[in-house]
């Protein structure tokens, strides 16, 4: 036989179950959110690591050769040199460094050389000492991938 008191107890038990259920759902939702957040972070990090691995492999493939020069014009303090990209990928020269026997001076460039193509560079070499014929000077070509291609030339 149902009384008013037992009906109220049943009703209160049902409310407790709903609250409990909501808590369980909240715990599950929180766990899923944390899992998704962690997963996204790991995927983003993995993607960056893969990109950097590709960057390093491409860096190791970069190769140049001197086609002609270096020809030094002491009067105008200029150096002519032709470089060929003999690597499989296009390369960008971003800086050229010149060692004049005393100090390095770097100037910023942006020259893209496609694979197999050549480019003629005229580099200003200030401060070359004409009276030091035994000194060895140097030009350093720096690529966007961080490779250095050094060409030494005597002052003669």
């Amino acid at each position: 036989m149902s009384t008013a008191g037992s009906h109220l107890k049943r009703h209160r038990r049902a409310v407790g179950s709903i609250i409990g259920g909501i808590f369980v759902l909240l715990i599950l939702a929180m766990g899923y959110t944390m899992y998704m957040f962690g997963n996204q972070s790991i995927n983003a990090e993995q993607q960056i690591i893969n990109n950097m691995r590709t960057f390093d492999i491409e860096r190791s493939q970069e190769t140049f050769r001197t086609v002609s020069g270096p020809t030094l014009d002491l009067g105008n303090q200029k150096l002519d040199i032709v470089l060929q990209n003999v690597g499989p990928l296009p390369s960008t020269i971003t800086n050229i460094g010149v060692w004049n026997g005393i100090k390095w001076s770097y100037s910023s460039f942006h020259v893209l050389i496609n694979s197999g193509e050549s480019h003629a560079f005229t580099v200003t070499v200030p401060g070359i000492q004409e009276d030091q014929p035994n000194w060895t000077y140097m030009v350093q070509f720096i690529t966007a991938r961080g490779n250095l291609y050094c060409v030494g030339y005597p002052n003669s």
Binding site: E45, M52, N95, G97, L148
Partner: protein, 149 residues
Amino acid sequence: MRGRRGVSEIVASMVVLVIVSVLGAMLYNTSQSTFASQQSDLLSSVQTEIEKAQERFEIVSIENNGQSSVKANILNFSPPNTIDIVVSAVYVNSTQAYFTVTNPAIQKDEVKQFLVTLPSGMTFVSGKYYNLLVVSERGVGNVYSWKSS
């Protein structure tokens, strides 16, 4: 008497309700700030790890500059869309040295010159080999070896 007992039950329920509400609000607020702080720390550490993995720099040349200092030219060749590299420490043959530069940040594709000075009492000896280790703020290092002239 019956009426007064009823009022006290209502008051008691309201007091319990207020206490539970206040405690609940405090708990919610604390947990919210704790979770936000943890999430921010995690994001920051992941971001630092990503930037560290992307950081690429190299010492491209060294110039002599007297007996106790050299000039180091450092190139930042990190991939596009990365932030600058900031030099934080330099070591010569495992001994911490000092560096002087207007701004220790190096932008992408930039070659920046740093004056590296040995600690007082130390000098570069002609003909001896030296290693220069440059360390960035994110903990990435690069070593350059040369013979002092």
